[in-house]
Amino acid sequence: MRIKMRIRRFNPETDSSPWWGEYWVDVEATDRVLDALHQVKWYQDGTLTLRRSCAHGICGSDAMVINGRNALACKVLMQDVGDVCQVEALRSMPLIKDLVVDMEPFFAKYRAVLPYLINEELPAAGERRQSQEARARFDDTTKCILCAACTTSCPSFWANEDYIGPAAIVQAHRFIFDDRDTAADLRLRALNDVDGVWRCRTVFNCVQACPREIDVTRAIGEVKLALMNGGD
């Protein structure tokens, strides 16, 4: 299969603004977009820059906009992209080079929700007990790989980058609904902000973008309801 790759290129050292580069690649139908990008990088233009590691949708390195939609390049097969595969860096993140964006603001927001279990009390011996139901309560949000596909697909985030974004809320959800954690109100307080959960307008782009098939909007909704019931 011969497919045209349109890649949005930007080299901070030589370009004043991004431009579209076009490349032809020979791929198999079951190759990933990542394989196609590698073909370009390895055999045509070594300056093409992207992040990747695991190549099977688990490390969260290679989220990008593929044919107008956020996805992991290693999880989209060439047979599903059509004749032209158009690739660009995640939106609304500071662009570093080609497909690489600055993730630091994203992680700063992640850190803002205190993404770690807080519970000073330890059992005398062995593990804390947790029922299967309690464990299932937050299972969905433990799947997050911090790829930023959701946050950068959110129209509310495009409009205002101060929005903490779905990924951080997903991470907060993972702890708020873990019955072993004792600091739910700290996290809820952080999210009870104009730029917290309330900036979410239930747009659902995040759900579509999430490569881990997390029901992101549901998680956000549950946090909103928790805030309502918590009575602030």
Binding site: P94, D102, E104, A108, D193, D195, G196, D232
Partner: protein, 141 residues
């Protein structure tokens, strides 16, 4: 520590300032629920049953008069207050999304609320005094 581009440094990382955004959120839903009944009824009743052509001065006057008139005045007042509160806040959402300059943001919000206040006042006066009522009061019309 990675890259320290100008933008990264500017990003908001402290969240959790006390604010009423949650209550506003609830208000938007509750007012929506109420208006789902009242506004849709008002719309379909006025446009399909009464027909816009017939909503003349006399028609409004008739609707707002008599014992049933009190009900209609209250009904219309609810439309006015809830609709304006909900609508103004909706406009504020948009301003907050797109206008990041704090000063400009404050200005625009102020204008929207100012105009909104005036309109609510105007609408209330109309409902209280009835059609033509204001004119009679100030000796016009």
């Amino acid at each position: 520590m990675t890259v320290t581009t100008g933008r990264a440094a500017r990003v908001k990382t402290r969240y959790g300032a006390p604010n009423h955004e949650g209550r506003i959120w609830l208000f938007m839903r509750l007012s929506g629920l109420v208006m789902f009944v009242t506004v849709v009824f008002h719309l379909l009743y006025m446009h399909m049953v009464v027909r816009v052509e017939n909503i003349t001065f006399e028609n409004i006057d008739a609707r707002w008069s008599g014992p049933a008139g009190l009900f209609w005045r209250l009904f219309d007042a609810s439309l006015l207050f809830i609709g304006m509160a909900h609508g103004m806040n909706g406009v504020r959402f948009s301003i907050n999304d797109y206008v990041h300059n704090r000063f400009l943001n404050l200005m625009l919000t102020g204008i929207v609320y100012g105009i909104g206040g005036l309109l609510i006042l105007a609408g209330s006066l109309a409902i209280i005094f009835g059609v033509g009522g204001l004119g009679r009061l100030i000796g016009m019309g």
